[in-house]
Symmetry: D5
Subunit: 96 residues, 10 copies
């Protein structure tokens, strides 16, 4: 089941540089693991921002919560979720 998720990251300006580097590295590793598992299907940077547009493919709402709530950057994110489903005009077999 697909969800579009937009995440905007707002790190506190006073966070020490090492802590920033560390949390970003953990986030990247976690994001890549989720992509490999197929749960984080697409991940794009929104040009000109510290934000992304993502497509998640999860079992249900509960798994979406598990996955997003476990992001290392979650406490510093503004997150917007839209449930998606097959569009009647879509021709892609794998997009639902």
């Amino acid at each position: 089941m697909l969800f579009q998720v937009e995440m905007t990251v707002k790190l506190p300006p006073e966070m020490p540089a090492e802590r920033v580097a560390e949390i970003k590295a953990t986030e990247k590793a976690y994001a890549q693991e989720l992509q490999k598992s197929g749960k984080w299907r697409h991940l794009w940077r929104v040009a000109g921002s510290y934000a992304n547009v993502s497509i998640f493919d999860v079992e249900d709402n509960a798994e979406l919560q598990d996955v997003i709530g476990s992001l290392p950057l979650f406490p510093y994110m503004e997150v917007h979720v839209k449930p998606l489903c097959r569009h009647p005009s879509s021709i892609r077999e794998d997009d639902s």
Copy 2:
């Protein structure tokens, strides 16, 4: 080059049913042609709405305008565009 486009359709309530059917059919044919050409890469319905989330893959801003401005439903749509680019944590080769 990728863009996320969100379209919400608001047809005037007084539009005759035949006109609605006609414009939707033309829209569908046009959307499928664009998908076949690869320009409209993804098309999803936002569940519970008359809206979609789409990913376009076009040459440049000008082509994006051509493609969206030619949609039969364009005069009845609210459209939001976000330019996308490769995310440093992405592992998909074809997502940029």
Copy 3:
């Protein structure tokens, strides 16, 4: 799988009274059928408005779209959807 859905109805002021009565009757019959089936789990009026707060229990996003998109009043509604899941502090067995 649960979703909270808020619907606000805005009928065009020029809609004839018989048409209003007819569409409301069809809506009511459809809403009650969906409640009996268990898909529309809760339905409350928001006091002082022509709006409701509802909880749907559906198979997935696609079924949510089917159910809401088929509402007779759908073309006249503003709809907001929130995907829900079990809260870690919840004690109700049947609320997820």
Copy 4:
């Protein structure tokens, strides 16, 4: 009398981890006590967020204020309240 309440929690990033754990534990105990008493009728997590959608069943507005204002996390919450009442199309006997 029923109210829909949406709560979004925003803890200050500088709050020490022990303090966070402590306040969450107190909140959970209090929330479960209120659920057992019947006053906090439903409690759902909004998937992908640190927010919940809840249904309270209280005597009156004053009790709603007592219950919500006493939440340990109240000083860190954004709260939205909607008064609910029976919907004319509802078929559930216990939903008003």
Copy 5:
């Protein structure tokens, strides 16, 4: 039980003048009857607008819905409701 209700009236510009006069007269009669009954405790015009700020004193949420949903101008109003209760610093005996 008290509620603050703000109502902003937006009549369609094409409504005939006699119809406007008629609906306003009915609204006034109904508003005065509700004031006499004690249910519509205060009614003020917001200066420079076609809007009012009101305080209702009703049994519960259901009665609030009955009273507001029956206003002749209800289909042409934008309505905002806030549930009120006694303020701990209030000194008025009759304000809760």
Copy 6:
């Protein structure tokens, strides 16, 4: 002359508890003095929030500014003001 005033209090989370208690006590004393003088005519808690809805009865805009700007909690408040006047449908003699 009447004004509706809505005040939402946002105390900084790092304010020491004694300072909070002190400022709230001063605020309460000041609010009750203003109520006794008749200038702060009504004061209600908005249920489920740290906010109030108030009706002030002052000489003019300048006095409104004096009264509100002198509130001990003023630096921590978001304040919205609406000038009120007699509603043509009001039947209360003392509500203007």
Copy 7:
């Protein structure tokens, strides 16, 4: 007593040209009469819009309502009111 009033005019596109000319002429005559009386102290066009910023000098809120509610264009306006008073740093004797 001074108020800042911002008015944005939105005439329905289907209003006949003669009716537009007529209502604008009546509005202009009324606005100039109010300026001569001193009640409409300043009137400026917001450059690039069909809107104005105005300063009214009236007895009280009730007179503000009388003056604005009687504008021929009132039913087609969006109006925002801010009560003003003397600023402690002002040096103009006539600006309060």
Copy 8:
């Protein structure tokens, strides 16, 4: 050339009282100097707020930027600017 400028001041709660007094005194002196020069034509307090409505009379956009950007409180202000010009219904000779 005239501009309407609205300034809302938000001082950080942790700013020491002497620093607040100092910056306000500098601001006042600067504001009065600008009023004497004729560049800051009107200055009003918005009643019930720490905000003002002002009319500036400057040579051009560049001078507006110089004047506002030099305000001692500028780093702590939210500022909104509207370019003004003569209104066709205005009768004041000096209001453009």
Copy 9:
């Protein structure tokens, strides 16, 4: 003197096709004349919309109002204006 102006066009859906063609032709001729005179310095389409971003170079606010208020599409536009001036980091001689 420079201004950024954003214009979004919303034609009423019921406007006859010939009238649309006519008003667009008049708008285009007028826009090109203003560009030739140097007053409309830049004109870009916002990709994926019926909107433009423009830079005007006019004598003063009054001329901005003349130029924009005379656009044939002005009654169907939402217009946002920002006064611009030279940026201290700019290196272009002709950009102020």
Copy 10:
């Protein structure tokens, strides 16, 4: 390919003055280098604010992200991006 970018700078009030001066100097040098390269085509101050309106001319979305994400002030900016393309009424050869 052109993009309109609006940047609003919000420096934390507690940033030391030397750090502010340093980051602004680095930003200025970087901005001027980008202007010389042709990538930052226009840069204007929005009068009365700590914000700019800019036009970037870059290869694609990815380069836009590189350029903006590398701004020294990027962590302290709110950024809004609009993709631009040639307007059918434009007469400038170099504006697309």
